[in-house]
Symmetry: C2
DNA sequence: GTCTATACCTAGATAGAC
DNA sequence: GTCTATCTAGGTATAGAC
């Protein structure tokens, strides 16, 4: 017996672990945290429940890893957009649009990450990631204020408001299992590219820009003028 | 044996039930949902664990009742302010102020209602109450738009954004056990009436008004001009 | 290394005495 | 009606065979 595992062994183990994480993520996206028992996840991954503990010391650890991977990806995407080219306000608008679109394209997972009830360990992780979103938004707001594009304000508080606003606006379309949301608060199909999704995005972006204090007079690349919004009920 | 309970009996039972709810609420406010076991609640109420089931069919039912009472009270207060005297924008500002102040004065409970991880039944109730908040905000926004005080927008989406913004901005000061929050994101004392609380309220209100699109030029009753906000880090 | 089977632990819920 | 003591279920985690 070797003192060290061979490269091939390591690769195999790592692949198994990755596969487990991927399947766990899929299960969570489908049925939520509460229903994602060790048994269900193991079944989905095609291994025995006990084997899960070859890769993770506890269910919590696996759940946290699932959350970190998925949420970390979203943070990275948002980070790239918010720190990309263009002025601060344009980046803010674009960032929110990208974030929302991605969420609406993968609802189950987005809901799990944003709002679904979860065990304390995941809840703590969620708070941590919300802090990261706040930090990203705060950067852009600060920059916008410095550039004279936004009025004087506390960037941290505005960032928190933006984070909460985006999450809450998305929560209901995401929470509705499939197409039960009405009007601009959800989409009717599954691909997430329907007209009402666009309306939702436009309104969300507008609200976010207003919240940061962006000048409404400046042209936004989001469609012609303002497409007279309609109320749901 | 009487077919009906005597009025005295009914009163006694009702009082016991009320006492149980009150104690359960206190326990939840102190230690959160997760730690509020049937045993802990019963102990606090001075009865045996089994006796809880004389008043509620299940732990979930008790938790839901606790949530409904507390959240219902907040909704009623907000409702009264938002539908009170004054123009729509003034009421919106006042309503947010009152809501935030109340939350900061009773942090444990506010955190439990707004953000703390909870069992699915409570989570569902929370979604329902957030819908009510949205409806209240939507009314005021709609009114403000009609009165020409606010720009054209989708009231439901703005209302969701406002609900999320308020919750998220408050979540961190509330979540920090006691005075660990820095700068305007929290208070230092316990009474909730310190200077930094006022700063937080002012910034939150400003962000909310911007989000709804209120004209920043109009005077707000909240302090002299704008008290040059400072950043935390 | 992976599976099967099982132990165990926590917390909610119940039965019967007083 | 309330308490004590007990039962139970559900799901995590482990032990030992292959």
């Amino acid at each position: 017996m070797a003192y060290r595992k061979t490269p091939a062994e390591l690769r195999r183990l790592d692949a198994a672990r990755e596969h487990l994480i991927a399947r766990a993520t899929a299960v969570v996206a489908e049925v939520g945290w509460a229903q994602a028992s060790v048994t269900a996840v193991a079944d989905s991954a095609g291994i025995a429940a006990g084997s899960v503990y070859q890769h993770f010391p506890s269910k919590s650890a696996l759940a946290v890893e699932v959350f970190r991977r998925a949420a970390g990806h979203e943070v990275a995407v948002l980070d790239e957009v918010l720190h990309g080219p263009g002025d601060a306000v344009a980046r803010l608008a674009h960032g929110v649009g990208v974030f929302a679109r991605r969420a609406l394209e993968n609802r189950g997972l987005a809901y799990a990450l944003l709002a679904a009830p979860a065990e304390p360990a995941v809840g703590a992780e969620r708070l941590d990631f919300r802090r990261r979103y706040r930090a990203l938004f705060a950067d852009v707001v600060r920059e916008g204020v410095a550039a004279g594009l936004l009025p004087a304000q506390h960037p941290g508080i505005t960032a928190a408001a933006l984070t909460g606003a985006v999450g809450e606006v998305l929560a209901y379309p995401l929470g509705a299992p499939d197409g039960t949301a009405d009007d601009a608060t959800g989409t009717t199909g599954s691909t997430g590219s329907t007209g009402s999704t666009d309306a939702l995005l436009a309104e969300l972006t507008a609200a976010v820009l207003r919240c940061a204090g962006a000048d409404p007079a400046r042209d936004r690349p989001t469609g012609p003028a303002r497409p007279d919004p309609q109320e749901p009920s």
